[in-house]
Symmetry: C2
Subunit: 638 residues, 2 copies
């Protein structure tokens, strides 16, 4: 954590000094703003948190509800989400209170007596385990409400001092071309003495994070395509007394009486039980929603047979109808106008894609939608990037959503299907082994690491990928251990990333040690001094070096062989009012776990360029710094 360099910070260093709009932020929703976010679900609060780091931008986030969400909805958090929380500074705290998944048990009809279930097999969840091929962070369960709380705390502590405007419902919006604030939104007060009154507000951009029934989507003429509701689940958060031995383990239970997904919850006693209510016929017309809680409990009990399941308290329950649906657009630009008209309204999260809860994707993918969008809006609104950057949002996320929908369709078909009785294959059903096999196969996707962005203005095609094979271009930058030189502290290189809208340049040095010349020195000097260097040309008067780019170096030598004065000033820039040196940008490979080995980085060195949303934009050779200029010419304005 970096603080004190602007003078002594007397309180909690997580509370950043107020700036811009945060110096005098209107408590009431104003008539005009830069960005209007609709909805405080996971998508909305992440976006708010990200934009709160741009205090020059006035962002408001409205929510129909009177206050914070208290319970219910999603709770599965993929390792990718925890990595994201790390960038927002609250991963540790959330992990402390979360339930951690280390394995999943598969229960099936006992071959000896198919009316009973038995523990058939287990799969391990490798995320967060030493040597994991997924992430150093685990897969956990924590309620959506708490995730939202953490993002809101982040907003409140940000320079913008942001907090949601509760009690405002969006009724509709339209875009009026030619205005400075072209988005015109009609709102209704839902709480307080003036409940029911309507207001019109204006924004430069609006983002609909308003869930599956999104008004924003409808306002821009978007449609959810696909099966609206083909399957129903009863879901309940309950305190139970049971002799089922795996009550604190994630279980997929497939019995002759139906199937259950059992998710132990944070705390030490609560669990969530998803009870399969079967396919819904088109003639159902919502009748399934009238199923009483007692019926869901009854079905659960019969599935658990021969184990006893006594529900002692119900914290929340719901009938959750699902289908796989995907919107035809993520913004308000018509396909035929793409490239000529720039988007003004976006949608994200459940507003774009809905699917089952079985693969635990909803909250996670929704957050990644807005993590993709947030920095782009920030960069355009602060005049750093051309508006065309905003087009990449829809392009990139539409592909991800399609993959998600396909994945979920497969997964829920398998999970929802009848179990094959080997004695009676003629009755049909899925071989349970297939379920397990599929589960294992889809680990990367299920953990949130399936996303691979296609080449675009912000993601190169990978001519120099061989220089860093462990940093696939278009995929998320995966951290690895290094040693910080100034204080000899072993740490994760990636955990230094902050959701601060900055680009990252990781310069991996070649064989030469500091002071011995080599491509790294020439590269560093070029970056620091060349008029073509994006580092130089994007620097605004009064801004610190490093405001747009976080430039770090990793040496191959041991940390104690590296003397600061041998290292180029671009890696030790002066900053802050006292013009002190930032000593925390210089790293050394950890001899116990060499990052060059682990991530397949060439011994000749290279530069890994990472986007503000933590995705690898490109890999470049050290000896051709002009390629860096070429890449950024289209992305960052002079």
């Amino acid at each position: 954590m970096q603080f004190h360099h602007h003078g002594y910070v007397k309180g909690d260093p997580r509370i950043l000094p107020a700036a811009g709009i945060g110096l005098d932020r209107p408590a009431e929703l104003p008539a005009e703003m830069d960005v209007l976010i609709v909805g405080t679900g996971p998508a909305g609060v992440l976006l708010g948190a990200q934009l709160s780091m741009y205090p020059e931008v006035h962002t408001r986030i409205i929510e129909r509800r009177e206050g914070r969400l208290e319970l219910g909805q999603a709770d599965g958090l993929q390792a990718r989400s925890i990595e994201t929380f790390q960038a927002f500074g609250f991963a540790e705290r959330l992990l402390q209170e979360a339930y951690r998944i280390t394995e999943m048990q598969f229960w099936r009809p006992d071959p000896a007596d198919r009316s009973r279930i038995y523990r058939a097999e287990a799969t391990l969840d490798s995320a967060g385990v030493e040597g994991s091929t997924l992430s150093e962070f685990p897969h956990v369960i924590c309620n959506q409400a708490r995730v939202q709380d953490y993002f809101c705390e982040y907003m409140a502590n940000s320079p913008s001092r942001m907090s949601p405007d509760f009690g405002w419902e969006l009724l509709g919006l339209e875009v009026e071309d030619g205005e400075t604030h072209p988005v015109k939104a009609t709102l209704r007060r839902t709480a307080g003495p003036d409940a029911g009154t309507e207001r019109v507000v204006r924004a430069k951009y609006a983002v609909g994070c308003d869930g599956a029934r999104s008004v924003v989507r409808k306002s821009i003429g978007g449609q959810l395509l696909g099966d609206s509701r083909n399957h129903a689940w009863g879901v309940m958060d309950v305190l139970v007394d049971t002799d089922f031995p795996d009550i604190r383990t994630k279980c997929a239970i497939q019995s002759e009486a139906g199937s259950i997904l059992l998710i132990p919850r944070e705390g030490n006693a609560l669990c969530r039980i998803y009870v399969d209510m079967g396919d819904i016929s088109p003639e159902d017309h919502g009748k399934v929603r009238e199923t009483p809680l007692e019926r869901i409990v009854e079905i659960a009990q019969s599935i658990f047979h021969p184990y006893r399941l006594e529900v002692r308290d119900v914290a929340w329950w719901s009938i959750y109808e699902v289908g796989q649906r995907l919107t035809d657009t993520f913004d308000d630009v018509k396909p035929e106008e793409r490239g000529t008209v720039e988007p003004r309204v976006f949608i994200a999260g459940d507003a774009c894609h809905t699917h089952s809860a079985k693969a635990g994707q909803g909250m996670n993918v929704s957050m990644q939608d807005t993590f993709n969008l947030g920095w782009k809006l920030g960069s355009v609104l602060t005049g750093r990037s051309p508006e065309s950057l905003l087009d990449t949002y829809s392009v990139e996320r539409q592909v991800v959503a399609q993959k998600l929908i396909d994945f979920d369709r497969e997964w829920s078909t398998l999970m929802g299907a009848k179990v094959l009785d080997p004695e009676h294959p003629e009755l049909g059903g899925v071989d349970p082994k297939e379920v397990t096999a599929h589960y294992l196969k889809s680990e990367v996707q299920a953990s949130g690491f399936g996303t691979h962005y296609e080449p675009s203005m912000i993601t190169e095609s990978g001519e120099h990928q061989h220089l860093a094979s462990g940093y696939p271009i278009g995929k998320r930058f995966w951290s690895a251990p290094v040693v910080r030189v100034c204080d000899a502290v072993p740490m994760e290189l990636g955990h230094h990333m902050r959701a601060d809208g900055r680009w990252r340049l990781y310069a991996f040095a070649g064989r030469e040690a500091p002071g011995q010349g080599g491509a790294i020195e020439a590269w560093a000097q070029w970056v620091r001094t060349s008029p073509e260097s994006p580092y130089v040309r994007t620097r605004r008067e009064g801004d610190d070096a490093g405001s747009v780019f976080d430039v770090k170096v990793v040496w191959q030598q041991d940390h104690d062989a590296i003397e600061p004065h041998d290292v180029d000033d671009v890696f030790r820039p002066r900053f802050g009012p006292f013009q002190l040196r930032d000593d925390e940008l210089v790293y050394a490979a950890d001899p116990k776990d060499d990052i060059f080995e682990r991530r397949g980085v060439s011994r000749d060195g290279c530069v890994v360029v990472v986007r503000p949303d933590m995705f690898v934009a490109t890999v470049l050779p050290l000896d051709r710094p002009e390629l860096l200029a070429e890449f950024f010419d289209g992305v960052l304005l002079p």
Copy 2:
């Protein structure tokens, strides 16, 4: 973290439900209270935090200052303190913002040119490093003010909803025998419109955590014995521009011009420089305190020669006069009355012992003082323990303080001494190698692990120590990895400890697996059912099993070989209003790092009894449960 079992917790699970005094805690300081703590330094706030977990006890903590400490004073935190913070639930957060020490550099006069300093050698700080012989937690630097903030947050979130009463100074106190609230304290308001007015309040007990000039100590006739001031240091928290290469590393610098202790601070730029101002003659009469800041900077600059040191900002500075002093008593019982009269007034921290800052002990030892005292007061005031328990505080901590004083005297003599010039041994001075050797030798003491309590009513002499050689009786219980059975999560056994005033019984099972009988089963049954069992006899009506004892089991078998229904109910007690089972008390050795091996636990099993302040009270064989009864008979009332 355990929550939800009393019903769904809708907000931050760290905010515990209010109870007892917390339901309606008077905002203003009342006329009568159970415990009056004087001072909100590290000793005071830890004590407040500990007692806030006893909502039946009304504790107040007064502070002369108008509000929180903002900066300055101590900042070195030993690994033992971080372990303690873990028990208070804020270790992770504090570590995130702290500076971590991994090595120390020793700079000395360059043999080639003694007017210059050079980097002579380095020592590694093993705390927090894989395979450490000290602790799994590191040694860090974080300002005292932040430590105090975390404890105050803990109090505020506790069932007692406690917060300090700022703006009250203690003028003096006396003990009036025979009263229900025998301690009569005279206070003066130091802030607000009524500043200057005096008040008398009464308490059952008072604890002076009021620093070196303690009024409480004086009121009970205590004296600090030893050298009051024999040495002076200039200390400054500064932002500097320098070419000194180790500015972000802890350094001991001994030059011909004097010596410096350099402590990099949290954040990324601030550092603390202790500049040796030399011995103070008895005739000094405080003149050294008039030294201006400019002079301290000048001395520092000459010591850093040939490196440049330019001070850009000064956050805090002080002249810190030190000597080694120790009080003759830690409570108000005269030596000749010990055992017949029970103490009513205690002192802790700097009120009892003062010494140099060089070994970074002050804040740490002060907190351990009150961690020792807190649970004893809580246990006596809730009627769980006899008053004689309170005698053990002075007895135990006096020994620790003496050791601290001796250690500091040696260390500061060495560090403050002139450096030997090998060319001119006749000029005298200390061989610098001796300093390094001493530093390494004293690592255990310096990290806070030197404390070894003598046998007493709460610490046995160790007849069965051989059953768990890695848990020395009288020393702190050191955590080790295990796997929790219910959810297969690998974790640190000790990190489950909370500063909740409970005793811990760690039952290490013998060779038999669960359900196979053996001593563990008989032991568990005895503990759960025998009328002599302290677990049974101390249980009050309406209380959950486990309110006084946290009873855990560790099996030798792999976690997946253990079925819950084979494990005795004492390890799976029912709790809370819904009478759910607590599944989180059953552990298995981690095959990758077997706790039985690591801590020298006998394969026949044993019981490790741990005090509420995390010290090992005794080790007992499984097959003699009556020894457990014997031990607790004197400690816990029926």
